[in-house]
C-alpha cells in the first residue's frame, strides 16, 4: 500500500463515492424496510384504511354490506337480455371482444362425452342475429339428439382474494369493503396484467379508455339500492343479487336453499358468484 497522503482531489472523489455508496445503501435499506412493512399489511386492509370510512357515495355506508351474486342455471333460458342490458347500462363497447357479462351454452349430444360449448360471441351466433347488437343463440343443434343442455351466465366473480388486484402495479384496481372489485379509470396505466391474471376471462382492455375494464355489479346502481342491470332485466330470475349481511336477502336464501358451487375453486381466489346445478365441465 502506498503511504502517501491522499490528494485533495482524491479525497473529494472518495468522499463523493462514499456519499453515493451511503446514499444508495440507505435508499436500499429504506425501500427494503418499506417493502417489508407494506408486504405485511394485507392489500385489503390497506385499501380500507386509505378510503373514507363510509365510502365515497353519499348516503351509502360500504362497511354495512357484503354483496354476492347467484346464478340459477335451472332458470336461464339463454335470451341474452342481460348481456345487452349490461352493454347499454355500462357503456361497454359494442364489439364482440368486450363483455362484462356473457352467457355460455353447454350441449351434450348423444354419443359424445364432452359438451359442446359456445357463447353469444360465437361467429355462428353473431351471424344469426339480425343486427349485431341483438344477441341470440343460433339454433345450431337442430336435428341432433341433445341429451343434456343448459345455459351458464358468466361475470366477474368479485373474488375474496382477487388475483387482478394482486398484480396491478399501481393499485388502480381494488376491493371495496362491501366486497366489490373496482377499477379506477383515472389511475389505470393500461398494462393488462390484470386481464392476464383473471382466470375467468372477466376482464378486457377497453380500447376507448385505454384501460382495463370489467363488471362492477353495477356499483352505481347497487349503492342507490337498485339491482345490477342484468339482474333487473332477467325475465326468469336466473340472476340473484343481494347482501350476505342481510339474513333475509335473496342471495342468502338462494345459497341456503340450493347446492351451490363456485368456479375454479382450486385458484384460492374465493369467488363470490355462486352457481347451482352445473357440472364439472363448467369452469
Amino acid at each position: 500500500m502506498s503511504d502517501t497522503k491522499p490528494t485533495k482531489q482524491e479525497m473529494g472523489r472518495r468522499g463523493f463515492m462514499r456519499l453515493l455508496g451511503e446514499l444508495s445503501a440507505t435508499a436500499a435499506v429504506c425501500s427494503g424496510a418499506a417493502a417489508v412493512a407494506l408486504q405485511n399489511t394485507p392489500a385489503a386492509a390497506r385499501t380500507e384504511a386509505e378510503f373514507p370510512a363510509k365510502g365515497p357515495v353519499p348516503g351509502y355506508d360500504w362497511t354495512k354490506h357484503r354483496w354476492a351474486f347467484g346464478v340459477d342455471t335451472t332458470r336461464c333460458i339463454g335470451c341474452l337480455r342481460c348481456v345487452e342490458a349490461c352493454k347499454v347500462e355500462n357503456n361497454v363497447p359494442f364489439n364482440p371482444n368486450d363483455y362484462r357479462t356473457w352467457v355460455e351454452r353447454y350441449v351434450y349430444l348423444e354419443g359424445e362425452d364432452k359438451p359442446r360449448v359456445d357463447s353469444q360471441d360465437d361467429p355462428v351466433n353473431i351471424a344469426a342475429a339480425d343486427i349485431p347488437t341483438n344477441y341470440r343463440f343460433a339454433n345450431r343443434y337442430k336435428g341432433d339428439k341433445v341429451e343434456k343442455s343448459f345455459f351458464v351466465a358468466k361475470l366477474c366473480n368479485h373474488c375474496e382474494n382477487p388475483p387482478c388486484v394482486q398484480v396491478c402495479p399501481v393499485g388502480a384496481t381494488y376491493k371495496t369493503p362491501d366486497g366489490v372489485v373496482l377499477i379506477d379509470k383515472n389511475y389505470c396505466i393500461g398494462c393488462r396484467y390484470c386481464v392476464q391474471a383473471c382466470p375467468y376471462g372477466a376482464r378486457y382492455f377497453n380500447e376507448e379508455t385505454n384501460t382495463a375494464d370489467k363488471c362492477t355489479w353495477c356499483y352505481h346502481r347497487i349503492t342507490k339500492g337498485l339491482k345490477p342491470a342484468c339482474v333487473e332485466v332477467c325475465p326468469v330470475q336466473g340472476r340473484i343479487f343481494g347482501d350476505l349481511n342481510d339474513p333475509g336477502s335473496e342471495i342468502n336464501e338462494f345459497i341456503r336453499t340450493h347446492r351451490v358451487r363456485v368456479l375454479k375453486p382450486w385458484t384460492g381466489n374465493g369467488p363470490h358468484v355462486f352457481y347451482n346445478e352445473i357440472d364439472s365441465e363448467v369452469s
Partner: protein
Amino acid sequence: MGTLVHIASYVASPYSGYVYPNETVLPWGVLIVIYPYITGLVAGAFIVSSLYHTFRLENFKPVARLALISAFAFLCFAPMTLLSHLGHPERALEAIWTAHWTSAFAAFGYVAGFYAVLLMLEIWFAFRADIVAMAQSAAGWRRRLYRVLTLGSYDVSERALRYDHKWATALAALGIPAAAGLHGYVGFVFGSLKSREWWSSDLMPIIFLLSAVVSGVAALVVIYVVSSMVRKTKLDQKCMRGLAWVMWGFLIVTVVVEGLEYVEMFYRRLEGIDVIEQLITGPIWAGLTIQALCSVIPLVILSGLLAWRTQGRTLTFWMSFSAVLMMVAVLAMRWNVVIGGQELSKTARGFLTFYPPLWGREGVVWALSLFASSFVWLWFLVRLLPPWERAETAEANPETSGVVDGVPAWESARVSEEGA
C-alpha cells in the same frame, strides 16, 4: 353483410373450440415478447463482464468492458418496450411513485432502476482513466462532455486507479445477484400467474434466467465479432474460446432444465395435459421446432469446437453461426411462452391464433425498431466510451488512450495492485 363486416373488423385472433369472449384479443403482443428478450440480453452480457471484473478470468478481459456497455445499452431500451405497450404511458411513473407492492410489475421500476445505477457506476469506474485522458486530449464539445463525465475527478494515480478497480470489482459482484434478480423477476411475471396453464410453473424464473444468459452471451459474441470486423482488428482467441465455454455451459444447462420441465409435465399428466399437448402440436409447433433446432445445433457445433480445440477463422465462423442461432432460439422461446401462453384459452377448451399486426404501436415494425435502436444506442455509447483494450487503442491513437508514463492506465493499475 353488415354482420360479416362486424365480425371481420373485430375478431382479432381467429380461434377454434371455445374461448372466453374477452379473450379474442390477445392482451400482450410482440412488444411483450421483445421486452423479456432485451432484458435477457442485459443479464447475459453482464455475466460475461463479471467473469473478468469479479472472478478475474483474464480470458474475458478483451470483452469485459464491451459487455458492460452492451448491458447498459440494452437496459436503456427494455423499459421502452413496456412503455410503448401501456394504454396510458403518461401514467407509467405511478408504478414507481405509488407502487402496489404485491405486483411483480411494480418491482420492475425499482429492480431496473437499481440495476441501471449500478451499471452506470461500474461503467464510470471501469472507464474513468479513459474519460480523464479524453477530457484532457479531446477538443471542443467533446472535451466539455468528457469533463462533465469525469465528475470532477482527474486523479489517475496508481492509488486512485486501484481504488477504481476495487469499486468496479465490488459493483460487478453486486451486479450478479442484481442481474439474476432482474431476469428471475421477468420469469416470475409469467410463472406466478395461476390463470394460464402454459405459464404457471415454478421453473419459469430459472428457465428465463438461464436462457437470458444464453442469449446475452450469444449477443455479445456477435457484437464482438462484428465490431472486430468493422475495426479490422484481430479477435482474441483465448477470449473467443472462453466465450465458447460460457455459451456451451449455459446452453447445456438451459436445454437440460427445459427438458426436465417437459418430462415432469408429461410424466405427472395433471388435468389439462391434453390441451398442453394440443398446444405443442398445434399453434406453437413451429416456434417450438425453431427453439429446439436452434438450441441443439449450436450445442453440437460448440461441443465439436471445444472438443477439437478449434482456433482461428473456423472458430470465429462457427461460433458466430452458433451465437446467431442461440439468439434466435431464445427469441423463439420468448415467443412460445408469451404468445403461446395466450394462444391456449383460459377455458382449456380452445385455441387462438395470433397474427401480429405489422404497423401501429403493437406492430412488428415498431417492436423491431425498438430492438434495432438498442444497437444504434450501443454504437453511440461505444463511440463515446471506446471499450477496446488500451494497448490496442494506444497503437491506433496514442493521444486519446489514457496512457500514463508509457504504460496504459488500466495495466499500470493492475500491475501495481498485483505488486501490493
